[in-house]
Symmetry: C2
Subunit: 135 residues, 2 copies
DNA sequence: ATATAATCTGTAATTAATACAATTATTAAT
DNA sequence: ATTAATAATTGTATTAATTACAGATTATAT
């Protein structure tokens, strides 16, 4: 996505379009493999010589707050991040450890929510073996 | 649950019934509120004067390996543990931060799993407001 | 009872994430 | 365009969850 487009999105969501945030968001939009903060840091440190690890965390928190990015808690060790904020589930392959998206509508999720509880958001995590590793 | 019963369960699952593991598992069976390792440690340190934090982690890992306990990744900060290994979802209240169980059968989950992916296990995490905090 | 193997303990190390203060960049007003 | 005000970035230091490790202890099987 072009930098001007991202700037417009940021302004619409009320966060300042700094070079660092644009870089983090661009990376997340391009790489749809739910990277960790450290993965993003290492990738961006290669391109931008000065890029603090703290800024990665700050930018990610700002993006999450703004509703442009969501966290994925499928790994216990570290948080993962996803620029796709639409409803979908996450499948982690026990063999290659890769995370795949799959379709789950919020209608389906809300129907699972017990009565008396006010549903705000939901997530579905599956583990198993992905098609590539099934053979 | 009586200590002899727990001992029998442990032996059936191929793990040694040590005093520490029995204490951890008893606690988890009694407290169904998905405690963290630290919560378990503090509770048991009150009762047993010598109880290493490392042993809590070792015991929990052994119990998880044996299939008697499952981890709950609903909090990013720390892992939670649950002695209920039957299929169910988890709901975290945004106000009181308490975690509630709710019914979700594995049939329902497997039906959500995309074709080509071999389903092994699944978890459903919801957040929102619990009945107690809804008023 | 004893030998063997597994477990426990306590400290040290690791690692993800945050706090903080000084510097730098962005925004808005002149 | 300049400049003042505000917010973000940087780098270091810190926190907190978890693991590594080695010596002491406990459980199991002979």
């Amino acid at each position: 996505m072009a930098e001007t487009e991202i700037t417009a999105i940021f302004e619409k969501h009320g966060i300042r379009p700094t070079q660092q945030r644009i870089a983090v968001y661009s990376y997340l939009l391009a790489q749809r493999n739910h990277p960790s903060a450290d993965t993003i840091y290492r990738a961006l440190a290669d391109i931008y010589p000065v890029f603090s690890r703290t800024t990665i965390y700050n930018s990610l928190n700002a993006l999450v707050q703004a509703g442009l990015v969501r966290t994925v808690n499928i790994c216990a060790e570290e948080q993962r991040f996803d620029a796709d904020v639409d409803d979908h589930g996450h499948f982690i392959c026990e063999k290659c450890r890769e995370i795949f998206d799959f379709e789950v509508s919020s209608d389906v999720l809300e129907r699972l929510c017990p009565t008396g509880y006010r549903f705000s958001k939901g997530d579905v995590f599956f583990s198993g073996v992905c098609p590539g590793c099934c053979g």
